[in-house]
Amino acid sequence: METLLSKLNTSDMKQSMRHIILFLTLSLLLAGNVTAQRISFGTYVTDDIALTLPNLGELNFNDGRNVILPGQTVTINLTDNATAALKIEARADLDITVTIDALATLDLGSNIIPLKLRFAYSNVGKLNEADAKVGPVQVPNGFTSITFPVLRRASGLPAPPPTPNHVGYTAAKATAYLFIYGTLGPVPINAAAGLYTGTINVRVEYAK
């Protein structure tokens, strides 16, 4: 009987060890995946955000000043036609975070021109770019990331929590606009003539 008990204990121990090893293995795998899960499995997926560029998808300072000469500074203001616009279609009841990544210069080889970008957004449900340009919110200088509701909520009591996605449910969407403009220059006196370029990367995701 004692012998039998002893055998049972040994078997239990082996099984426990197996569980511990499996648990540790899983724990390690899970630990390695924690960050990815946080990004990937937030409350709301980001696939239903649609980004489109209503105009040419460029910020062309020659649209602000046809001829840009060394020594000059060119400014494209928010209300100018040359302002670049980004149309954002997303869930109306959620907030989005817009992150802008751009260099502080336009480059032509080793020649550079200082670039100061400004941003503004319109989240009052305007349906086209022209209407959205009326009274957008200008982001203060120096900010490269901003979080705002896709559709501005009326003042008063806080809105109820967003409805989670589920089968058969289609969330209402709204359109927000992001405007990018700014100042180029002063163009260095010894700047080479030619086309200076840079890329403005804009990322939009639901706020976490």
Binding site: N33, I39, S40, F41, V45, L59, A84, Y196, G198
Partner: protein, 167 residues
């Protein structure tokens, strides 16, 4: 245990798919500017103004910049739709190269962004801001008025200078 592994596998797979899908939420906007050299604008004389005494009426020779085919033609070549400044001296002294004496030639300048003399507009001021046409050109027609009633016989010659620069 198997179920746990499957769930873990699915989670990892979904994780990869999701990370790729998030790239859809980024977009790139190109910022650009073309810088031109100040010398990137030029003025070319297409035709000189050529006057002789047979054109005189009551001692006055007048060549209409807008109407006469004898008017001189100059063209600005630069960046399309670019604004530029033009300046000139409206009265120039021309010199008798075969004798003595000088005459004062009062210029008349008309301009237009296309090669259309009859549609040209007078450029009255000496310091004007103009705009090059979409075909990268701006035309000047130069005429003038000169009083030869008291001129000595001879061949008179002078230069009319227009200065242009981008604004």
């Amino acid at each position: 245990m198997k179920n746990t592994c499957y769930i873990l596998f699915i989670l990892l797979t979904l994780s990869s798919i999701k990370l790729l899908a998030q790239d859809k939420n980024s977009i790139s906007i190109k910022a650009q500017a073309t810088v031109v050299d100040k010398s990137g604008i030029e003025l070319v004389t297409i035709k000189d103004i050529d006057i002789d005494e047979s054109m005189a009426h009551d001692g006055i020779i007048y060549v209409s910049a807008k109407l006469d085919p004898q008017a001189a033609v100059m063209v600005v070549k630069g960046r399309s739709n670019a604004k530029f400044r033009v300046s000139f001296v409206p009265v120039v002294e021309i010199v008798n190269t075969t004798g003595t004496g000088t005459l004062l030639l009062q210029y008349e300048i008309y301009g237009y962004p296309n090669d259309n003399q009859s549609a040209s507009e007078p450029l009255d001021a000496v310091d004007l801001n103009l705009q090059i046409g979409s075909d990268k050109k701006y035309y000047f027609w130069v005429g003038g008025r000169i009083d030869i009633s008291k001129a000595s016989p001879g061949s008179y010659y002078g230069n009319f200078t227009i200065e242009i620069e981008y604004i």
